[in-house]
Amino acid sequence: MGEAILEEVVRSYRGRPEKLIAALLALQRHYGYLPEPALRTLAQELGVPLSKVYGVATFYAQFRLKPRGRHTVCVCLGTACHVRGSEQIFHALKRELGVEPGDTTADGRFTLEVVSCVGACSMAPVVVVDEETHGRLDPEKALALLKKY
């Protein structure tokens, strides 16, 4: 299954170095992160040095080189969320999950992440779990949210 997506990405972008970011996004959408073997294949097929693939994959905030947990808890630390107290929510979640941003809990259930604005500023402060946006939170509501997943 994983191989199929790699083949498909390679087929659509072979020899087109300018499609590197699109290819990485497609792979990550499938795997949840960017596995090294896939990056090696991609570098070869697109015709870009592996060092450049790595450079791009680490430049952009969206890309992960580590596997993610079953759920991603993403705290918005954008301006609107900040002025409505998102930092407290962030600390509460960090304390509860016991991990730093980018890391996954030992049981593989949650990955903690931060983002600067998802564009839902009118309902700040905001936490996005997987694809679902939750707004008007406080630390307790944010912690209660975890129980749903």
Binding site: V56, Q62, T79, A80, C117, M123, G135
Partner: protein, 649 residues
């Protein structure tokens, strides 16, 4: 079943392969190629099915499907409404449509009943039967679900709510009123008519002239005259040119471009095609930030439908003009909003700016002449073509024409999407439209322009919104984010917040930005920890000037703005931090302490319940106390106590 976009009879021949120049106009006013009362009647019926005329017995129920209302639960409402409408036997009379952001996001989920224009707020699934039975069937709006101001006054009509009354919604006119996933609604509302008239009655030079005469300036921040940019790209001899729409919207606190793409994507597409025609380009890209999956989805649908209708692709409407459009998803880097970094990113590279000689209009994407404009800039273009440059130039101020969309957020009562004529004062924006500060608190500052902008104090709120006035105040129009702060927000901490953002997002190419923002951040962190000294203030100012003067791209040259404006307008707060080691707003964690007042505490235990580290002990109904060794100073106890028994020192 055939509908609006289809042919009335076999005499109509339009398809992307056999295009007809009358296609767009014909949908609304046709048929043109033959005269048949039956066909005319069909066309009228199809048009009315989208927009029932006032006085007919048919209604539209528009459910807001913008991101904010959606997150508050609106996405499930259309189905529930449909079900209830069916049960009430009103299927013939009421159509339910999921639309883009209606603007007053704070009160979402919203729904609007047209043509009366009655707005429902904070709708829940269980409210649906009442709306259907009492209003749609009984004709009486459900009062408890209408907008109500703080004094309890009820406003049934959207147009009378103070939030909307002072606005001038022209770019946002269709946003919230049409189904963004159906091109028929856009065309029925007058869409693609500007493109038709451009393709068949204006030369590329005339289009550029019209945009120049309108006075339109870029809505992405810097305010560069759009017509001049287009002219520059057209002048450069080349067989290939590109059009790019900047939908990176990296300013944290901005959501205007997201709302436009989600609510009226064809307006942006139409503006881009017109630009392509004007500069002689056959290919465009929309660079959308990855954090906006819904916008990407709606844009993708819109592009597919435009291709299917022959409005994108080869030989558009038989004019001989060809334009292809792609979506390019960003991958999360603020600097990619900068034009040259954005182009590097489309080319598959790290988003690092390049020197701007030659300009992008000469050598841009893939080395070809390129016009890059912001989402809102493009959305203005069809309007200018349709209503004329004179109409546009009559709105706004001498140097800043037209309207501007703002994303209002923070401590203001009515957060949401706002469009006002240029020249509106900041006070009108915050107090008349935004309704002032939430919860009886005092206004402190508004932040405009995001990480490149500045903080503006209360005594400068009479400032009119135009490019020059805002720059003069050390801030910036920016893309349109306005974040309101009250007495509980610390301005030093705000400056620290923005610097930590720009320091993180600096691409690292040039030293002043990479190292300068880091040093400035260090100093600000020191101050917020209570370890600053008075000399730090002048050091910050000095560093800020250097970073501003010597950085390579706009990220670095504007990064000091939030610090410099707060130092200028809120110096006393800085002094309080460095001299008294005190943060009056109570936001700087290291400078605050919490104690429980024995005489006020009734021992309800609410604070102990919310304390994340169990620092609060005490028996029920007896005064509690905080163990300061355990306390992490989060302040939850202070916020939660209803008896003012927790004191912040």
């Amino acid at each position: 079943m055939r509908s609006f976009m289809d042919r009335c009879c076999s005499r109509c021949t339009h398809s992307p392969q056999t295009p007809c120049k009358d296609y767009v106009l014909c949908r609304r006013d046709g048929p043109f190629c033959h005269d048949d009362p039956e066909c005319r009647r069909l066309r009228q019926k199809w048009l009315n099915s989208h927009f029932p005329p006032v006085g007919s017995n048919r209604r539209r129920l528009l459910v807001c499907g913008g991101l904010t209302c959606g997150a508050a639960g609106s996405f499930s409402l259309p189905e529930i409404f449909q079900e209830a409408i069916k049960k009430a036997g009103l299927e013939e009379q009421v159509t339910v449509t999921l639309v883009g952001c209606l603007g007053l996001c704070e009160e979402g989920p919203l729904a609007l009943v047209m043509p009366e224009g009655i707005l429902y707020c904070r709708l829940k699934p269980e409210d649906v039967p009442a709306v259907v039975e009492e209003h749609l069937k009984g004709g009486k709006p459900v009062e408890r679900l209408l907008f109500r101001d703080e004094a309890g006054k009820v406003y049934p009509l959207l147009s009378e709510i103070p939030f909307y009354r002072k606005q001038q919604r022209v770019v946002l006119e269709r946003c919230g009123y049409i189904n963004p996933e159906d091109i028929a609604e856009y065309i029925a509302a007058g869409g693609y008519r500007a493109l038709t008239s451009v393709l068949f009655s204006l030369s590329p030079e005339e289009v550029i002239e019209e945009i120049k005469k309108s006075g339109l300036r870029g809505r992405g921040g810097a305010g560069f005259p759009t017509g001049k940019k287009w002219e520059a790209a057209r002048r450069v001899p080349s067989s290939k040119r590109y059009v790019i729409c900047n939908a990176d919207e990296g300013d944290p606190g901005a959501f205007m471009d997201r709302a436009l793409l989600e609510g009226d994507p064809h307006a942006v597409i139409e503006g881009m095609i017109i630009c392509g025609y004007a500069i002689g380009s056959d290919e465009g890209y929309v660079y959308v930030r990855a954090e906006y999956p819904l916008a990407v989805k709606r844009l993708r649908i819109a592009i597919e439908q435009a291709y299917a209708a022959g409005l994108l692709g080869e030989n558009i409407l038989g004019s001989g003009f060809t334009f292809h459009l792609h979506i390019n998803e960003g991958a999360g880097a603020f600097v990619c909003g900068e034009s040259t970094a954005l182009m590097a990113s489309i080319e598959g590279n790290r988003g690092i700016p390049r020197i701007k000689v030659p300009r992008s209009t000469e050598k841009g994407l893939f080395g070809k002449p390129t016009v890059l404009n912001n989402v809102e800039t493009f959305a203005n273009v069809p309007l200018i073509i349709l209503r004329g440059s004179q109409w546009f130039a009559n709105i706004g101020t001498k140097g800043s024409k037209g309207t501007k969309i703002f994303a209002l957020s923070g401590k203001v009562k009515h957060t949401g999407l706002v469009e006002v004529p240029m020249g509106t004062t900041l006070k009108e924006l915050i107090f008349d439209i935004g309704g002032g500060i939430k919860g009886g608190k005092r206004f402190k500052a508004l932040q405009i322009g995001g990480p490149s902008g500045g903080c503006i104090p209360e005594d400068m709120l009479d400032l009119p919104i135009d490019y020059e006035s805002l720059t003069g105040a050390g801030a910036m129009m920016g893309s349109g984010s306005v974040v309101v702060m009250d007495e509980d927000n610390c301005m030093v901490n705000t400056a620290r917040f923005f610097l930590s953002f720009t320091e993180r997002e600096s691409c690292g190419k040039c030293t002043p930005c990479r190292e300068g923002t880091k040093q400035m951040l260090n100093i600000l962190e020191r101050i917020t920890r209570g370890e600053g000294s008075p000399s730090d203030l002048s050091l910050l100012e000095f560093l800020g000037q250097v970073v501003k003067a010597t950085s390579f791209c706009g990220l670095g040259t504007s990064a000091p703005n939030p610090v410099l404006t707060t130092l200028r307008f809120f110096r006393s707060e800085y002094l309080q931090h460095v001299m008294e080691k005190r943060c009056a707003a109570g936001e700087c964690v290291a400078l605050r302490r919490f104690v429980i007042l024995v005489d006020k505490c009734i021992g309800c235990g609410a604070c102990a319940y919310v304390c994340p580290v169990k620092a609060i002990k005490g028996e029920k109904k007896k005064p509690h106390h905080i163990d300061e060794k355990v306390c992490v100073k989060c302040g939850r106890c202070f916020e939660i106590c209803r008896f003012q028994a927790v004191k912040r020192l």
